[in-house]
């Protein structure tokens, strides 16, 4: 390898790493200020009490698309209907399911097809019908089921839901998500407390894999004890409690998660709804809402609230993780090709001048740079040209910094109001943080790059189903049958997992290729 390549790449890496670390520190500080503000001024119980009594509390609609969800749909719809809020409706969109999703809904909630005058405010695949309950149960009366032809994407189903919601704000979620009982109060509050128009609200999402869920309600919260969901839980927590909270403080939020987010219906319709062709439809939606507001010269805010409001089942294995991360990588790449005109464009305020450059430099290009870094290290190893006395210092420093970030998110989580009742559960986070740089991170880099390549080559994307274990009405977590091993033992298991991980990834990629061929 030529000397000058190594020299210049080294300089580049030093500058890039400094920028990345500086951005992390800046975000941690901004997040600290936001959490402090929240802690000082917000009182959950008082807020809920005030909203409960008031006739001014706005109504909220919940839109949850369902595609082949027969395993979980009834429990989860019951969970949605049991939320605590004075005025809300639940709109389930059956996106042409091939299984018994619709039949089960009709049987369990005593639904009948009603003559509904459907108006397509946002273009979707054909609407087939709308179902309402004939039962006298007041909770069931909140339920609306929309049946439509399969659109192939969550975006299309969500748009059909948006077409029938009746409230100013709607929450978009997945039917498998478990919501906190008070989630809607928490979500609506920022729209009322802000002096500017709040167009979207995001809340912290966590993994439900290790928790105990009964009748669709969260009974006990624990971190996942399988390594892949555990890594993802840590990643989510870091993203929500540091990244998004910091960006929310300066009104530069890049994304409101498709799993759980609240939107202003009017702005969504004017922005054209979710884009069915996008692989990152949630990010694209927020970008288009901001574009609409900026073009119309309207003031707007996109807010992140730190409390955990939603629990979702994370990918349990490499196959699903691969599919999810490849899609995210592809979506990110596609997002930049679609919205490139917003980049460094002053008309789009913080979003154009700060958020998009940040995503471009630190999220889109990061996997490429990391990959080049791995190649460089391999090349230097081959030539035996590594300066070992320096590299270990660099590595240890970076490792300590990664642990610092984990400790910071744990303290933020404790500050916000602990997600885990048992403080010992945080040891799992520490364990995940210790192992993450070796196993999870390189795998994610690979999946992201795979997504970029697929997007560049224009490979047809398969919208596979997320394999779900299904939340049973059991008082045990999904893995409670196994004796739950302490973090130390789990570390050994994780190492063993990692040893088989290459084979697992290989098989996951091969399986996906097979699926693509079948689909074609």
């Amino acid at each position: 390898m030529p000397e000058w390549v190594i020299q210049w790449f080294s300089y580049f890496v030093v500058v890039y790493s400094t920028l990345v670390i500086s951005s992390y520190i800046a975000m941690a500080v901004l997040a600290f200020l936001e959490h402090r503000k929240h802690y000082t001024y917000h009182d959950d119980a008082y807020t809920i009490g005030e909203l409960k009594k008031s006739p001014y509390t706005p109504g909220v609609s919940i839109v949850a698309p369902a595609y082949n969800e027969e395993k979980t749909v009834i429990t989860n719809v019951k969970s949605l209907l049991s939320l605590d809020y004075p005025d809300f409706e639940v709109v389930i969109v059956n996106d042409g399911s091939k299984d018994r999703t619709l039949e089960l809904l009709i049987e369990n909630f005593d639904l009948v097809k009603v003559p509904y005058a459907y108006v397509e405010k946002i273009k979707t695949k054909p609407f087939k019908g709308l179902y309402k309950t004939k039962s006298d149960n007041p909770a069931f009366k909140r339920l609306t089921v929309v049946d439509k032809v399969n659109g192939g994407t969550k975006a299309d189903a969500s748009n059909a839901g948006v077409n029938v919601v009746s409230n100013k704000f709607f929450v978009c979620t997945d039917v498998d998500c478990v919501l906190e009982k008070n989630a809607l109060y928490r979500m609506i509050w920022p729209t009322m407390a802000s002096t500017r128009r709040v167009i979207a609200v995001s809340a912290t999402m966590r993994m439900s894999n290790g928790s105990i869920v009964e009748d669709g309600k969260m009974v006990e919260t624990h971190p996942p004890h399988d390594m892949i969901p555990l890594f993802q839980d840590l990643e989510y927590t870091r993203s929500f409690l540091i990244g998004k909270t910091a960006l929310s403080r300066i009104n530069a939020m890049q994304n409101v998660s498709g799993g759980f987010g609240m939107f202003d219906r009017e702005v969504v319709i004017k922005a054209g709804g979710y884009d069915g062709d996008s692989f990152a439809e949630d990010m694209d939606m927020v970008a288009r809402m901001i574009r609409y507001c900026c073009d119309a010269g309207e003031e707007y805010r996109v807010v992140q609230i730190p409390e955990t409001c939603c629990w979702t089942e994370g990918p349990p294995n490499f196959k699903v993780l691969n599919r999810q991360r490849t899609r995210w990588g592809r979506g990110l790449f596609q997002f930049f090709t679609v919205h490139r005109d917003m980049l460094f464009n002053r008309n789009y305020r913080q979003y154009g001048m700060l958020t998009l450059p940040y995503i471009l430099i630190f999220e889109l290009t990061a996997p490429v740079i990391e990959f080049l870094g791995y190649l460089m290290v391999l090349g230097l190893l081959v030539e035996w040209a590594i300066n070992w006395s320096t590299i270990w210092i660099a590595f240890v420093g970076l490792y300590i910094f990664a642990q610092l970030l984990t400790v910071v998110i744990i303290s933020y989580d404790l500050w916000v109001g602990t997600s885990f009742k048992d403080r010992k559960d945080y040891l799992w986070f520490v364990l995940a943080s210790l192992l993450e740089p070796f196993f999870y991170h390189p795998i994610n880099v690979y999946f992201s790059l795979r997504g970029y390549v697929k997007q560049i080559l224009g490979t047809q994307m398969v919208w596979g189903n997320m394999t779900r274990k299904g939340v049973q009405s059991a008082a045990k977590p999904a893995n409670a049958d196994k004796k739950q091993s302490p973090p130390g033992e789990a570390g050994a298991t994780a190492a063993a997992d990692a040893a088989t991980s290459v084979a697992a990834i290989k098989s996951a990629v091969e399986e996906e290729k097979k699926e693509e061929k079948t689909d074609a």
Partner: protein
């Protein structure tokens, strides 16, 4: 080595110098990196210690609250629900408090969740005098005063909220210090407190503040305060006067009109109608129309019909809703609605008009049937939609 060399300071110095000279061999970037790593390590230790301390405190507080529940809940409930008014000494004896019972922050903050819980559960049934006396005996007012006087903003705000949550007593003078505080949230909490418990005219501050920011959050909280005042027989403001004062915040004007509607002040309708005739602001007009409609003020019908033709899209919908709400059975109004239904091309307006006509008494039903018979086939779904009881008819509002 002698004893002096092995002393603690020398040890530290010795290792520091070793590190220093070892690092001196490296380039500056690595030296900076090492310092950064060392700072990160120190921060990790500090944050972990902080978290542990916080956890210990939280656990101790939780145990304290639990202990208080066990020891005092039944006794306090008995006192609060006792129809006979008890003397403070009797209450103190019933609670078995020591004679020299003093206020301590760490003990009193553990009473607060229990007292709030009790007030939420039994607030409406309890003997208010006994409750207030019990709070006095427990020295809660002194505790809240201390909290409001503290330098910590969170403590101040939480104290104001707790006072409201348990209907405690806090001197007006203490709260009034913050009515114009720099911190808007603190200011709002003080104002809400003053509005809740004030005995003179506590709303004056809203009308006289030129920098007032009246968000939806304040709308919700102020309405709850007004409901509390009405329930407790305290003086209520004259909302219509709020609208006529200058300078007045636009949001406050709209709030006042909405409050007239919610408290059903029919005596203000005539003045509201004259306001509507002169109003040019869409949001204010909509609030007036909604209020007049909700209070079924028949003389407003004429103005509604006059206004309708030149009104904006949103205002038109409010006017149609209001005409439907008044439901006076006036055939002229019905004819007006029918004509507009025939002319309009917007489906939302059409659906709403159809619903208003459908609900407009017997003559409305007749007109509805007539429209249904005359309507083209593609409109059939609208009629079926309106007639279906299972669909929330507000869906198109």
């Amino acid at each position: 080595m002698d004893y002096y060399v092995l002393s603690r300071y020398a040890y530290w110095k010795y290792y520091f110098l070793i590190l220093y000279y070892r690092l001196a061999e490296y380039p500056p970037a690595i030296r900076v990196w090492v310092i950064f790593g060392a700072i990160s390590l120190v921060l990790i230790v500090a944050i972990v210690i902080g978290n542990l301390a916080r956890s210990v405190r939280t656990v101790a507080d939780a145990r304290g609250v639990e202990h208080n529940y066990k020891q005092y809940w039944d006794k306090m409930k008995e006192i609060a629900l006792e129809p006979r008014t008890l003397e403070p000494l009797e209450i103190s004896a019933a609670l078995e408090l020591p004679k020299n019972f003093k206020m301590h922050e760490y003990t009193h903050r553990r009473y607060v969740p229990m007292l709030i819980d009790m007030y939420r559960q039994f607030g409406e049934q309890m003997n208010k005098i006994n409750w207030q006396r019990m709070l006095q005996v427990l020295k809660m007012p002194i505790y809240f005063e201390e909290q409001v006087r503290s330098r910590n903003t969170r403590k101040r705000i939480v104290a104001f909220k707790n006072v409201a949550d348990m209907d405690a007593n806090l001197k007006e003078a203490v709260a009034s210090r913050y009515l114009f505080a720099k911190d808007r949230k603190l200011q709002n909490n003080a104002r809400l407190h003053a509005a809740r418990f004030g005995t003179s005219y506590p709303f004056k501050v809203l009308l006289e503040d030129p920098n007032l920011v009246f968000t939806d959050e304040m709308v919700v909280k102020f309405h709850n305060v007004l409901v509390y005042r009405q329930q407790n027989g305290m003086s209520m403001p004259n909302f219509i006067h709020w609208c006529n004062r200058t300078p007045i915040n636009e949001e406050l004007r709209i709030f006042a009109i909405n409050e007239i509607r919610l408290f059903h002040r029919r005596e203000d309708c005539a003045e509201m109608l004259s306001m509507l005739i002169n109003s040019r602001d869409e949001r204010f007009s909509c609030a007036l129309i909604k209020a007049l409609g909700a209070m079924e003020y028949v003389p407003a019908e004429k103005e509604f019909c006059r206004r309708y033709l030149s009104a904006s899209y949103t205002e038109r919908q409010e006017l149609a809703e209001a005409l439907g709400a008044i439901n006076s059975g006036n055939p002229k109004v019905l004819q007006f609605l029918e004509d507009d239904f025939m002319q309009t091309t917007d489906y939302v307006t059409r659906m709403m008009l159809l619903r208003v006509i459908h609900n407009y008494g017997t003559i409305g039903q007749e007109a509805y049937q007539r429209l249904k018979e005359d309507a083209p086939k593609e409109f059939a779904i609208y009629f079926e939609h309106i007639e279906c009881d299972l669909i929330d008819s507000r869906r198109y509002a």
